[in-house]
Amino acid sequence: MNYAVLLVPDFALRALQRSDPSLAGRAVALVAGEGRTARVTEASAEARGVAPGLAATLAMSRCPGIVLRQREPESEVEAHRLLLAAAFTLSPRVESTGSGSCTVDLRGADRTRTEALMRLRAAELAASGLPPRIGAGATPLLAAYAARCAEPVLVVDDAAEFLKPLPLSFAAPAPGQEAILRGWGIMTLGGLTALSKAEVGARMGSEGVLLWERAAGETNRVLRLVEPARSFAAQWAYEPPVESTEPLLFKMRRFAERIALELRGAGMVAEKLSLTLLLEDETDHRREFRLPEPGADVEGWLRVLGGHLATVRTEARVTGVRLVAAPARPPEMQEGLFDTGLRDGASFWENLARVAAIVGDDRVGTPELLDTHRPDAFVMRRPLESVTPRLAEPVHPACGPTLRRFRPPWPVEVSCEGGMPARLEGGRLEGRVRAALGPWRASGDWWKPENWEQETWQVELSGGGIYQIARSAGAWRVEGMLD
């Protein structure tokens, strides 16, 4: 038992279910591909009659009410970190083999203790919504095969007997190889190894020989080890933002389970927790909790965090959450040597955000015209960090009077004669129209409920002054003055 493999079947689906409580107990399938080419890649046990490879549309017909979702990379990253954390509790030599799979070098470990530890971790991971299969064997390959058959732990001692009935797909044949072997009626690793390696090589070349060796479990390799976690933090972005504390508590539990395992793998405990709620208005809510007793006790942490979340009220919806655990034995480092004068390099942006909080988001930044015909439609963007090159001189430079816009425009009553503005009344501007130019018409967004239409005139008042007025949604406004 030199190696162990921790493997989570249907990992992407498990990770998604683990991250979204609304999927619990429902028929769910992950699909890949677009449109009619979309195929199921993983399906939950509840999704009866639905198997990987099935067209998404057929899945809908076979399992009414099935929830079809695309993969969620963020959930997978979080779940994979939990798996790695569990692996590091078995041995410090761990390879992140693939999404939902890691290989542990157990050489030198005590077999009895390790087997018990594997069973314990399997139970913990299952409780955390990530039921693993853990296999152990003489080589990483054998351990991987064992993991695929484990329920939940399997240690392989007699490799030859174990391999014989395994399906051919265990050896990961290329599609071309698989087609050839299917034609030959070869469905198991034993079926393939029953053929002469040389004859297979003569027909399928060196790739065929490698496949044969994988089928025989003869392949060995060196693990590419990864470092254990150095920081003990977790973060999640909500799309759409959340308003209640339930999803936050659910996520806190997931974070805590993983961070606690990571701490344990590193032989550390947390002395302080730092919770940040990122809010929709781009502000955040931060709180630090010095734990009464440093430790890696998930339930204890959740009591502290839950107690706070039950009382917290925020001005805006929560778009993200971050949890950081400060380890009790911090790594030794020289503090302050590389500090800059600015403790917070982003203070400019923070200040800007504070200003925005006071005057409103839409009033801070650099104005940028929108690609629409809607008059005066612009949006405030973050100021650019570099200066944009000057645009080429326009072929027809602007000429004529300049429009000095009133912000906001002035409401006005306009009486018309013969379809043209004749008099302006009310508000800040009054007078008879001496001359009128227009109308210019614009309309857009007709496909949306908020479609718009505008008629614009330039009028000269008898008392002097040229103004631009516009009618939209039945109301007139003075948009500005022409100098």
Binding site: G35, G183, H373, V395, R441, S443, W447, K448
Partner: protein
């Protein structure tokens, strides 16, 4: 002051404008416009529609086009004279024929050569002058204008001024007016029209998005700024151009200057070359009388009278050359050993019969000549030729090109319009609806534009778009407006247009998608409206199969002459009566098979009726049941009017054929031959319901005036309306019945040749090769597997009832590889698998396909052994090629395939199996499920379960939402009917599952058995190979 819009674009500018020409004309008429100039992009695609609708609305249709120039600018030109029109068509043809579709650009030098008779406008934003003004300023614009001026001169160039109430446009207009005045050029007000009415503006925006492959949300300023580019009347334009009245005045002046309209197209059909001393008429007469003598023995009495009458009329109408040309094409086809047969109304003509164009004797069949040709007829009569589909038909098409030149003949266009499901999908994307909803919508409404029993909004709701969706109403409204607008131009299935001289002088030609073919810019209705002649060279899969079967029989020393088949073969009619008609032309559909046991055809004419009766026309006209009941004596034969008896006697008082409607109009309504011809055109003209309604009203009045009773009038007018939904002329039904009879006769007497020929001519017909083989097995035909030692390229008959499948049946094996295999085998048989592999140049995939299909069994023993051995062969250049892999094959360590494995391999490599039906293997798993054959023993009303591969799903428009499913098992076919409600519930299962288990009540009406479905589920657990099914309306 009057105003004429001279720069309008229609939806035939493809994704650049949003209204049909007819809508533009309607709006122009409403606005009191005397004329309208249509300048579609790079073509005159909509000109005929504009012309014809303009004639009806009293709006003069002026022809023009926007020309995309080599520098990307767009010059609008209007056609002033016929010479100008010819030059424009020639120019567009040159440009389109030398470029990929839609990529043609006009060279400035070419325009300079072809400008005579054209009037140019300076154009709008894309025009050379305004484009240059924007890009390079006043000087650049002046230079662009000077170039136009050099080409067209002062008399033929107008400076176009547009006002769309857009800020800044006056600056540009000021420049244009100043420049025009400085150069002494007239200014012309246009509105650069893109849609008929303001509310159609959204369609233009949607088209803009489709053109730019974007959505409405992302299109930004590419969308219209406002909806001002619609047709505007004189008062509005006068007000807009109050400061430039001459700009409006000039529109009327220019329209008055334009003398050309499509009324004086000048089209002429080519003459047929005749021997010296002969005229077209005399030569036709000579050939007709000669042919008649061959057909009839002697040309006397009725025959003589009819032929003389027809010849006189043909000569009078100037159609002799046309008949000679069609005769010559038929002769050409026959000389090359190809079957050819005229269809449609040509079969009403004794001259066509004498010339060998048609195979039906109209005198014996008492067919109405006036349906084909009449005194008052101004358009060309239809002569459609059915040819074997494939190479033989293409040979004839290429012969026409050879004779008349690439600019003298072209295929008719087929305008593909936005319809149903595809419209929702495309427009929905533009509206930003999520892909998954659109995908679900497409899956729900799978299988083409199935007529739906629920409204579009409801369909979308089922696809996951809620009623409350903020864009739903706009989407539905836009889809309604987009429906029926042209999407792109396709190619008609076989209509070729010929002309004396260059056809490209009458209509621009373009490259068709198929290499070696050109297509003109008008569709068949346009062609007919313009009085141009179209010869339909139609490919029929069954003609190809008949040809193949005849050749197979001849090779086997049992020649068959299809022209001399006895028309009263009892065995043939027995088979038809039993609805044993899989593979038989025209009567193999589920609907036909349900009617045959009730119809019980006994004569050839009965078969013609059977062919005609299951069509949307008679079904909608409620003709089917009365006819069948009268035939079986359940209902007395009555006539709507006693005077109708001689006309309707053969069809038991029921109107089944178009000829009957025409004769009734003449006999009971007093219509002249010319009026009857107008009626015929109204029935056949699918574009205008108004035209048909007018004819209906006229006919009603005529019947009433002639004392026809009101119930009879109601019945006859309903029959007329239903024929507009597609009914057959009697002559056409008889022509098709000839082919149907021939195919049935072959199925009875030469079943081997029949099935082999059907397999060789795929794709064709309703049923897949797999179903045809199962049907053949039920008829005692055995099918031998593909074998490299024994098979030919095509399927072949060995012995009367044995068919050897052809090598071309194996998927993934190139024709060239098959040819090389046969050549090698022709030199000497293959001694071993090694010998085969060394001598035949095949790719690895082809070797595997042949081995997997069992085609190498004769050399390798079994499929696995072959698969093992072919992998050891690494090509002709294999260093070890001298070793014999076959020796290794004998030592193959692999097990033989099981029956189920062989079945799957068959479907993988052949899409069929020569062996038992896959359901035979599944049968032990299906307890309590009846076989198709077993249904005959189940009492009517009993609850029964059937299971099988779905081979057809049909939801015809005439069936009020019912769906008909045919399942195939190892004993035959079982039919199920699904009520609309169940269909909607199980839509996805029905549409997508390859095998179904259906539970329901058995109905047995005079031997026609159906299951009225109550429950439907898929059967994925049976693991049956997927079989192709035909899903259609």
């Amino acid at each position: 002051m009057a105003y004429v819009e001279l720069h309008a674009r229609s939806a035939f500018s493809f994704l650049r404008a949003g209204s049909l020409p007819e809508s533009l004309v309607r709006e122009a008429g409403r606005l009191g416009m005397a004329a309208l100039g249509l300048c579609d992009r790079d073509g005159v695609y909509g000109a005929v529609r504009l012309h014809m609708s303009g004639k009806e609305a009293g709006v003069r249709a002026l022809v023009g086009s926007e020309l995309t120039m080599e520098d990307g600018s767009v010059v609008p030109v209007l056609v002033a004279t016929r010479a100008g029109y010819q030059a424009l068509c020639g120019l567009l043809t040159t440009v389109h024929l030398r470029a990929e579709k839609g990529e043609g650009r006009v060279g400035w030098a070419e325009l300079a050569e072809a400008h005579h008779g054209l009037v140019a406008l300076t154009g709008d934003l894309e025009g050379p002058v305004r484009g240059a003004w924007h890009a390079g300023g006043a000087r650049a614009a002046e230079e662009a204008g000077e170039r136009l001026l050099r080409i067209f001169g002062r008399e033929h160039l107008y400076v176009e001024i547009q006002r769309h109430r857009v800020p800044g446009e006056e600056r540009e207009n000021t420049f244009l007016v100043d420049w025009a005045r400085a150069r002494g050029l007239p200014i012309l007000a246009t509105n650069g029209v893109l849609h008929a009415a303001p509310e159609d503006g959204g369609v233009v925006d949607v088209f803009t998005c489709l053109r730019h492959h974007t959505t409405l949300d992302a299109a930004g300023r590419r969308l219209s700024l406002n909806r001002e580019r619609h047709l505007k009347g004189a008062p509005e334009m006068e007000a807009l151009f109050a400061d430039l009245p001459e700009a409006v005045l000039n529109t009327e002046r220019l329209a008055g200057r334009i003398e050309f309209t499509l009324s004086n197209l000048g089209y002429r059909f080519p003459d047929h070359p005749v021997p010296a001393g002969e005229s077209q008429d005399s030569f036709l007469r000579k050939m007709t009388l000669f042919g008649a003598q061959q057909r009839y023995g002697s040309v006397v009495g009725n025959v003589r009278r009819q032929i003389e009458r027809e010849l006189a009329l043909i000569a009078k109408l100037g159609f002799s050359g046309y008949f000679l040309i069609v005769w010559d094409l038929c002769s050409f086809a026959r000389e090359r050993g190809s079957l050819v047969q005229g269809r449609g109304s040509a079969a009403n003509s004794a001259v066509c019969y004498a010339l060998g164009i048609t195979a039906v004797d109209p005198i014996e069949s008492k067919l109405l000549f006036e349906r084909f040709l009449s005194e008052g007829r101004t358009d060309w009569p239809d002569i459609d030729l059915d040819l074997p589909s494939g190479e033989r038909r293409e040979e004839l098409i290429q012969e026409v090109y050879r004779r008349y030149g690439r600019r003298g003949a072209a295929m008719t266009a087929n305008v593909i319009t936005y319809r149903g499901r595809s419209t929702i999908r495309e427009v929905g994307k533009v509206f930003g609806f999520p892909d998954d909803a659109l995908d679900r919508f497409s899956s729900l409404y799978h299988g083409g534009d199935l007529p739906q029993t629920i409204k579009l909004g409801e369909q979308l709701r089922m696809a996951g778009v809620p009623d409350s969706h903020p864009r739903l109403l706009a989407l539905l409204d836009t889809c309604r407006r987009v429906k029926g607008l042209p999407r792109h131009l396709g190619q008609h299935s076989g209509g070729m247009v010929l002309s004396a001289g260059n056809l490209s002088e009458f209509v621009p030609l373009e490259n068709a998608r198929m290499p070696g073919r050109s297509v003109l810019q008008w569709d068949k209705n346009d062609i007919e409206d313009m009085g141009m002649l179209k010869v339909d060279l139609l490919g029929l899969g069954m003609m190809a199969a008949l040809q193949d079967a005849v050749e197979i029989c001849a090779r086997r020393g049992r020649p068959v002459d299809l022209a001399r088949l006895p028309k009263d073969d009892p065995a043939v009619f027995r088979m038809l009566q039993e609805a044993d008609t899989i593979g038989i032309f025209q009567v193999e559909s589920r609907a036909q098979m349900s009617t045959l046991p009730r119809m019980k055809p006994e004569t050839f004419y009965d078969l013609a009726v059977e062919v005609a009766i299951i069509r949307p026309g008679p079904i909608q006209g409620d003709a089917v049941n009365p006819y069948l009941k009268r035939r079986s004596g359940e209902e007395p034969v009555t006539y709507p009017d006693e005077r109708a008896r001689p006309i309707l006697e053969r069809t038991l008082g029921v109107v089944l054929f178009q000829e009957q409607i025409l004769r009734l109009a003449m006999e009971l309504g007093g219509f002249t031959a010319a009026e009857a011809d107008e009626l015929r055109r109204a029935i056949g003209f699918t574009r205008s319901q108004e035209r048909l309604d007018r004819m209906k009203a006229r006919l009603e009045l005529a019947f009433r005036a002639n004392g026809v009773s009101e119930p009879a009038i109601a019945y006859l007018v309903k029959s007329l309306a239903s024929f507009a939904l597609y009914g057959f002329p009697e002559s056409h039904a008889i022509s098709f019945a000839l082919i149907a009879y021939a195919s049935a006769w072959l199925k009875v007497h030469h079943p081997g040749a029949f099935y082999a020929s059907l397999l060789n001519c795929q794709p064709m017909g309703f049923y897949s090769p797999a179903s045809l083989i199962q049907d053949g097995r039920r008829h005692g035909v055995s099918f031998l597997p593909v074998c490299v030692q024994a098979s030919d390229a095509k399927s072949r008959v060995d012995g009367d009832t044995t068919v050897r499948l052809g090598l071309e049946s194996v998927r993934g094996v190139r024709r060239q590889a098959v040819a090389s295999l046969l050549q090698a085998r022709g030199e000497r048989p293959f001694a071993s698998l090694g010998d085969f592999l060394r001598r035949v140049d095949l790719g690895a995939a082809e070797r595997r396909a042949l081995a997997g299909a069992g085609a190498l069994n004769a050399l390798a023993g079994h499929r696995r052994s072959a698969l093992w051995t072919v992998e050891a062969f690494h090509g002709q250049d294999d260093l070890f090629r001298d070793t014999d892999p076959a020796a290794e094959g004998e030592l193959s360590p692999l097990e033989r395939m099981t029956l189920l494995e062989r079945l799957h391999a068959d479907y993988t490599h052949l899409s069929l199996t020569a062996g038992a039906h896959p359901m035979r293997l599944a049968r032990p798993l299906l307890e309590g499920v009846s076989t198709a054959a077993g249904l005959r023993d189940v009492p009517a009303g009993a609850r029964v379960r059937i299971c099988g591969s779905v081979i057809t799903r049909q939801r015809p428009g005439t069936a009020k939402g019912f769906c008909f499913i045919t399942l195939e098992d190892e004993t035959g076919l079982a039919n199920a009917i699904v009520r609309p409600r169940l269909f909607e519930e199980a839509r996805l299962v029905i549409n997508l599952e390859p095998a179904l288990l259906i539970t329901g009540r058995l109905q047995n009406e005079k031997g026609v058995i159906h299951i009225m479905a109550e429950e439907i589920s898929g059967m994925p657990e049976l693991g049956l190979p997927e079989q192709s099914s035909h899903d259609f309306r």
